[in-house]
Amino acid sequence: MQGEDYGYDYDFLFKIVLIGDSGVGKSNLLSRFTANEFNLDSKTTIGVEFATRTIEVEGKKIKAQIWDTAGQERYRAITTAYYRAAVGALIVYDITKSSSYENCNHWLAELKQNADENVAVGLIGNKSDLDHKRAVPTDEARNYAQENQLLFTETSALNADNVDEAFRALITAIYQMISKNQLDLNDASGNNANAPKGPTISLTPAPNEKHKKSTNNCC
């Protein structure tokens, strides 16, 4: 009865943050994923907004609680507070704006500073519908993602291209990491519970697979 109201009907709750420069389309990515909406007239985000969507991964219901942060410098103090306890992050850049891509470095550093150590990170090149205004070649971005062990997808919130896939890939990666982590803990608990657990997740194979998908014009 009340479980409905509070949405208890899920197996896992993942907190995911959306970060990236102002105007790269974070809010529209979120609204596309959670409500399948797109707004040309969207205003710049103040502070943070958040939305949830429950998806199923490997038979488990996973509730993704996605925090959409403001990209503007002036809200930086507010937004970094929201990195805590996030298990996943999407760094978004605008493929037509080189500066937003260059700033990914900065966002990654900030994320590592403020978030948990083994947070799963995805790199997203948004606005792929503006291919004719592209400033960031796909290959370079993919190489960069590979080097930093990030998932990589090019999306278009306007056309809804790859938006679902990008979020799904991240959530799946988090889920796999967590289930693997739990197994590790179970193994370790018998012998020495204090064993240093530093599961380094290698996400490198994912970007290639992802890209194969991204070229699909699927919806």
Partner: protein
């Protein structure tokens, strides 16, 4: 006598003695009898005494037995008393035990009840707390929302405070003279912030009564049913005119030396379909663009920056260019960055499995980059209109088929009188005067009193005008369009507001949702007719050169003429009809099979488009013939189009051979 006396005495004595003997015998017998009786009684007495003794003995023994029994009994009694005592104590004990048991049980139940009660109380308290928290959360989020709105407003106010006089003019001025004077002051006010603006008409000076706008409405009406932009050409001349008069003269694909004729024919189509990409050879090139400022990284460590490989080149690498001349303008100077070919124009082919395959790559100089990007931007915008993101009001192509016009107008009159008075007034004009010129009461085409667009259709038109203007600027020759000042034109998402605008048009209602033109526009009142006149002079020279095509052009002209006539007739009858409901459209997904199948036809059409310049004079002529044009069957048109396309593609091939 003494012997008688003695005999008498003896006789008397003997008689007395006899009697005495008799008496003694009697007595003896009596005594004997008595003795017998006594003996008898003695024997019985003896018997009795015997039995008595026996009895006595028996009694004795019985008494003994009794004694023993008595002791036994006493013992038993003692045991019994003992037992009874024990029973009593046991009973007591049992009673005690049961009492304590019950006590304990009661206590336990009481405890449990108490516990339950406590939990219940806690539960209800928690529930209350949860409710309170929810309420608090609601109010807080509401407050946050409101605060954010305040912040937005504040930001807007801050932005427009730079431009106070202009917004004043938008709200207060009523006559055009007033407006122009206030604008003048506003320009003076802003001369500091926008110093060196080249040319910038304002949003409210944009016209919505140009013929191309009608074509745009037609375009919007048929767009939802079309799979690609190309298909709209059968109903709307928008695309054709944009390509012929604005895009082709700017791109001058016929002069593009580096592009093969096969690609050249198909290029416009590819751009329309979005199957092209324009990107720098390396992302590092972007950092050298005019007006580019490196992103400020205040707190990220420098070391990290150096280590990362954002680009395939080192961070401080010079830009990468190609030696080959620009494929479009033949630029081959290597003196400055803008002359260098820093960008690649790629064309793709849609494969059957939905993937895109790279087909061609061309080096592009900065000048052509701007032009190509602007062209693609126009097409991308037109494509995006299908996605529903613009929340366009519904436009219906009222009765495409001739003869149904009257019936339709009557239906609308009966069912939607209010709408008719505002929007469909054109029907009345048609019925009364039989004129095909659109007569618009209330001037809905003129937006609101301040000239600001009131509908999302008008906003999208303004956006299109902006894009067309920037294309012209890229043609005129600016280094960069990035720094240009331009208003962000976006649809109003408030549907109810949009509706009220529709109904109260001409009453000059200003809305917060409409961006106030705070900056100087790029050329938006780009005069369509003047432009055609310009392009004619250019195209005439083309005609002069290509006079070998004349015969086939005539055929094309003829076909075009019939098209023009029917289309312009429609112009008179087709109304922009705005439904109250805005239908969201799904994003555009052209089916691959049809694309592949149509490929030949499309390439032919694109050939037609690139050579359409030869049609322009007649087209212009027909714009003025529109008024007197007759109704003609619509059904012929598609075949005509195909014919002319085939002819043109044939000519095209001939050209190349020549």
């Amino acid at each position: 006598m003494a012997d008688q006396e003695e005999s008498k005495r003896i006789s008397l004595q003997v008689t007395s003695l006899s009697t005495q003997l008799i008496e003694s015998i009697d007595k003896q017998s009596q005594l004997e009898e008595q003795l017998l009786v006594a003996k008898k009684t003695i024997s019985t007495q003896q018997n009795i005494a015997n039995s008595y003794n026996e009895l006595k003995q028996e009694l004795q023994s019985l008494k003994l037995q009794y004694e023993t029994d008595k002791t036994k009994f006493k013992k038993q009694e003692e045991i019994c008393a003992d037992a009874e005592k024990k029973v009593a104590t046991l009973n007591q004990e049992i009673e005690d035990l049961t009492a304590s048991l019950f006590d304990e049980a009661n206590n336990m139940v009481a405890d449990a009840r108490k516990e339950q009660n406590a939990v219940e109380i806690l539960n209800s308290k928690l529930k209350e707390q949860l409710k309170e928290k929810d309420l608090l959360l609601d109010t807080l989020s509401m407050q946050l929302k409101n605060l954010k709105n305040v912040l937005y407003k504040f930001e807007n106010d801050f932005n427009s405070s730079k431009n106070v006089s202009l917004s004043d003019s938008a709200t207060s001025s009523t006559t055009s003279i007033d407006r122009s004077t206030t604008n003048l002051t506003s320009v003076n006010d802003n001369s500091l912030s926008f110093q060196g603006v080249l040319f910038s008409p304002l949003l409210h000076s944009l016209r919505y009564d140009v013929p191309l706008y009608t074509e745009y409405l037609k375009f919007l009406a048929v767009l939802p049913q079309c799979e690609n932009l190309q298909q709209t050409t059968s109903e709307s001349k928008l695309l054709r005119r944009l390509i012929n008069y604005e895009i082709s003269p700017v791109l001058r694909l016929d002069n593009a030396s580096g592009v093969g004729w096969l690609v050249k024919r198909n290029l416009m189509n590819l751009m329309m379909e979005g199957l092209v990409s324009i990107e720098p050879i390396s992302g590092i090139n972007e950092t050298y663009r005019t007006g580019y400022s490196s992103p400020s990284i205040p707190d990220s460590p420098e070391v990290e920056n150096k280590d990362s490989h954002l680009f395939s080149r080192p961070v401080n690498s010079p830009p990468v260019a190609m030696v080959e001349p620009c494929a479009f303008c033949g630029e081959n100077r290597n003196d400055i960055l803008e002359h260098g070919r820093l960008y690649i124009f790629k064309t793709y082919q849609k494969l059957e499995n939905g993937k895109n395959e790279l087909t061609n790559q061309f080096p592009v100089c900065h000048y052509c980059l701007l032009k190509l990007r602007q062209v693609c931007e126009i097409f991308a915008f037109l494509r995006s209109l299908r996605s529903g993101a613009w929340h366009l009001e519904k436009v219906a192509l009222a009765s495409i088929h001739q003869g149904k016009v009257n019936a339709y107008s009557e239906v609308t009159k009966a069912s939607r009188p209010k709408m008719k008075s505002k929007r469909l007034s054109i029907f009345q004009g048609l019925k009364q005067s039989q004129s095909s010129t659109p007569i618009i009461e209330n001037g809905p085409q003129f937006a609101d009193k301040n000239g600001l667009p009131t509908t999302n259709i008008q906003r999208s038109w303004a956006r299109l005008s902006q894009l067309r203007a920037s294309l012209q600027w890229s043609h005129i020759g600016v280094w960069s369009l990035d720094e240009s000042v331009a208003t962000d034109i976006a649809p109003s998402t408030d549907i109810s507001k949009a509706k009220s605008f529709e109904e109260e048009q001409g009453l000059g209602i200003a809305s917060n949702n409409i961006p106030v033109p705070i900056t100087h526009e790029e050329d938006e009142t780009f005069d369509f007719e003047a432009d055609t006149a310009n392009s004619i002079s250019v195209d005439e020279t083309v005609n002069g050169i290509r006079h070998t095509d004349q015969s086939s052009d005539d055929i094309g002209d003829h076909n075009e003429k019939t098209n023009e006539k029917t289309a312009t007739d429609l112009q008179g009858k087709n109304e922009e009809k705005k439904s109250k409901k805005i239908e969201p459209q799904h994003s555009r997904q052209p089916s691959q099979s049809s694309t592949v199948l149509n490929d030949n036809k499309e390439s032919a059409e694109s050939a037609h488009d690139t050579h359409a310049s030869s049609e322009e004079p007649s087209d212009l002529l027909e714009t003025y013939q529109d008024l007197s044009a007759d109704l003609e069957p619509e059904s012929e048109k598609p075949e005509n189009l195909d014919n002319s396309d085939e002819e043109d593609s044939f000519n095209d091939a001939k050209d190349v051979v020549n």
